[in-house]
Amino acid sequence: MSDFAAVARGVTKRFGRTLALDDVGIEIRAGESHALVGRNGAGKSTLVSILTGMQTPDAGEVSFFGEPAPPVADSSAWRRHVACVYQKSTVVPELSVAENLFINRQDLGGGLISWKRLRREASSLLETYDVAVDPDSLVSTLTVEQRQLVEIARALSIGSRFVILDEPTAQLDGPAIERLFDRMRSLQDKGVTFLFISHHLQEVYEVCQTVTVYRDARHIVTAPVAEMSKPDLIEAMTGEAGGLNVPSGDDRPSSDDLVLSVSSLSGDHFSDISLAATRGEVIGLAGSASSGKHEFAETVYGLRKPVSGSISVDGASVRGGDVPAALKAGIGCVPRDRHHQGLVLDLSIAENATMSTAGAFVWPSAQRSAGSTAIASYDVKAAGPDQPVSDLSGGNQQKVVMARALAGDPSVLVLINPTAGVDVKSKESLLGVVDAQARRGKAAIVVSDELDDLRVCDRVLVLFHGQVVREFARGWRDQELIAAIEGMSSE
């Protein structure tokens, strides 16, 4: 028996051209709660999928309690070693709690399913782990908290003594988070090991003993939580900026001409936000996923209906919740997710780029030449305007979305995660477009989790629980901004 519940050494994993993990390791001592933190794209979820046997590493080895990991094909062996509670539920909502606990072993080894026995086993299992849930109720009727507890109980009942919690607190409220932590501590006393993944650093300090930081697919540091101050931790997560050639735009001409004015706008997940953008101004919006920043931006573009408040462009008021009205008023948008909202993948580049602006008549030749213009203007790597966008790489697809947003020459640009999932070169060229638009006297709102995207902004507003809590002028330090996003004071 080894001292370590799980050890990974020299793990490398590539997806196509992307290096997801670069020779990383982790050593999780038995009986501890070990935190794994890092920014988006740091490689956390890839490591989780390797530790749970969902993926095979290209190089490196994994072992549990000193034994080498089973082959990937043997999923039941993996489940005896390690269990993972994902953000997304892995229970079947329309089946009962009892059946979910013993899913795919409902017969309890007997061949025929005895529902009475199944229920008895389920209640004794729930009792062992002190989960106050009726085994007969459907999982779909449980709260997120109860569902997680059922998943944890199921994992432990299979025999696993090592549980990975992947952002378990993301959907829980304060008291539920506290109850989850209490339970983690008591299970830990019984010898269960946890790998805890969270974006909220405060929680790491509350419940974990050791922390490992990944950044850009590399292992940065592993240290006892007690020896790691918050600023050190944030610095380890962000590292030095550098690497990316992003226009800072501090030499952009400024103006007092108001273009966009949003006054006390309230809507889904945000309330009473006012904002004014002048010609040539780029405003960044930062905040955690639940901060309401996406919803605010989508409301400005009319994708969501506001509850109250008003939006106006160049002095003219814009009808809320009406995308065509927003487009007409001069608002262009790169929506949150290009696959979901940005593109019709089977249609051509030309057709996608002109979708918002086409007149009543669509002449294929005019459309094609508009497509060629977009390809040339935004540096899209493509065979021609007739090529379906499904053929393009992520970065080039995003440029087509950008082309569509800018096709009507809008005076206000709303960009939501404009560089999500694109490579460095495309990132530079997309942010270059934002800078160029601002220099032409357009206003822009950039909603992003990426610090590089926010660097192009003249000021950055930080949202927390649907309200603007801080504003940073150009020249903010990464640590300050991240601390504000994570809801901590920077000191």
């Binding site: 009543a360 669509v362 213009t373």
Partner: protein
């Protein structure tokens, strides 16, 4: 980075020679098959290539083709409408029943005979509108709503007519169903005009292109400023109206409204659309393709008929031919039919 990014830059790319791309000609994938069928027909039967025979094929297919036109647009926008086939029967039956006296099987309302056509169209608008309301505003499953509507409308027709055929058909119907313009039956002209208009709209009008955007990715269409619900609703209404026109032509051609008018057509409608390259998942296919699907089925049917295949076998062989046609199309276009 100060690379000039200022759009719009005029496209300076040279007009590169388009390489031959099969995908661009997918529309025409069935044309060789149709030509092959014409040759086979000509070999098997000396009268096959005579104008009269070919016009007969077109006339027989005219009603189906209008249903396929409507269904193809509804499929492209990402929905489906099973109730089209009962609309074919109910709309003429209800309109006629509102006009003729009860002695002839009517409802004794006694509306003027000239109202027959406008009434029919109005009934079509109402059915399509109701389908749209239930699917888009109430949020029900389109498949189930139109399946329910299929049964309900058929039942309504039986209730109104007490299961009998209505033979006292207005003049306007008989005229449209029997007259010829410039040597071709009016029904064929109506189909030509409807298809020409449909092909033009779906290729050259923004409203028509929005069908593909909605069927391909309705969220993206919404984010691009397309009024998704409105477009889908209008397409459902147009589909029902086309089904009504098919019903009028059928009534005029046969001189009566049978209680089973249109029954069983929906299967052929889907078959022709899918053979013609319309995706059941939405966003893909062209109306020209759908039309060639209709023509292909019509030619096959006529060949079977001229060969004197026994009436007992014709249904089975027709079904087999549709499956065969799907297989041929699958390999002719190289695409999976989802």
């Amino acid at each position: 980075m100060t690379k000039a990014m200022t759009p719009p830059v005029s496209a300076s790319a040279p007009p590169e020679k388009q390489k031959f791309r099969l995908a661009r000609y997918q529309d025409l994938a069935l044309v060789p098959v149709i030509i092959l069928l014409l040759i086979i027909g000509a070999i098997l039967s000396p009268i096959f290539l005579t104008p009269n025979n070919l016009i007969a094929v077109l006339t027989q297919q005219s009603e189906l083709s209008l249903l396929v036109l409507g269904q193809a647009m509804i499929l492209i926008v990402g929905k489906m409408d099973l109730s089209l086939e009962s609309t074919v029967g109910l709309a003429p039956a209800l309109a006629v029943a509102l006009i003729i006296p009860s002695s002839a099987g009517g409802l004794d309302v006694g509306l003027a005979a000239w109202l027959a056509l406008p009434l029919c169209i109005l009934i079509g608008v109402a059915i399509g509108g109701l389908n749209g309301f239930l699917i888009l505003k109430v949020g029900l499953s389109g498949f189930m709503v139109t399946l329910g509507m299929l049964t309900m409308l058929r039942g309504l027709q039986l209730a109104i007519t007490e299961g009998k055929s209505l033979i006292d058909v207005p003049e306007s119907f008989l005229y449209l169903g029997s007259t010829t313009w410039l040597g071709l039956p009016a029904a064929v002209w109506i189909c030509i005009v409807c298809y020409a208009a449909g092909i033009f709209v779906l290729k050259y009008l923004r409203a028509g292109r929005s069908l593909y955007a909605i069927g391909g990715n309705s969220e993206a269409a919404r984010a691009a400023g397309i009024r998704v619900d409105r477009v889908v609703w209008i397409v459902l209404i147009i589909g029902s109206v086309l089904a009504v026109i098919a019903g009028i032509l059928m009534t005029g051609r046969l001189g009566s409204v049978a209680a089973t008018q249109g029954e069983g057509m929906i299967f052929q409608v889907f078959a022709a659309a899918v053979i013609g390259g319309i995706s059941l998942q939405g966003g893909k296919g062209t109306l020209f393709g759908a039309l060639s699907g209709v023509l292909m089925l019509g030619l096959v049917e006529q060949i079977l008929r001229l060969q004197g295949v026994s009436g007992f076998y014709i249904k089975a062989s027709y079904g087999a031919v549709i499956i065969l046609a799907l297989i041929v199309t699958r390999f002719a276009t190289g695409q999976k039919q989802e």
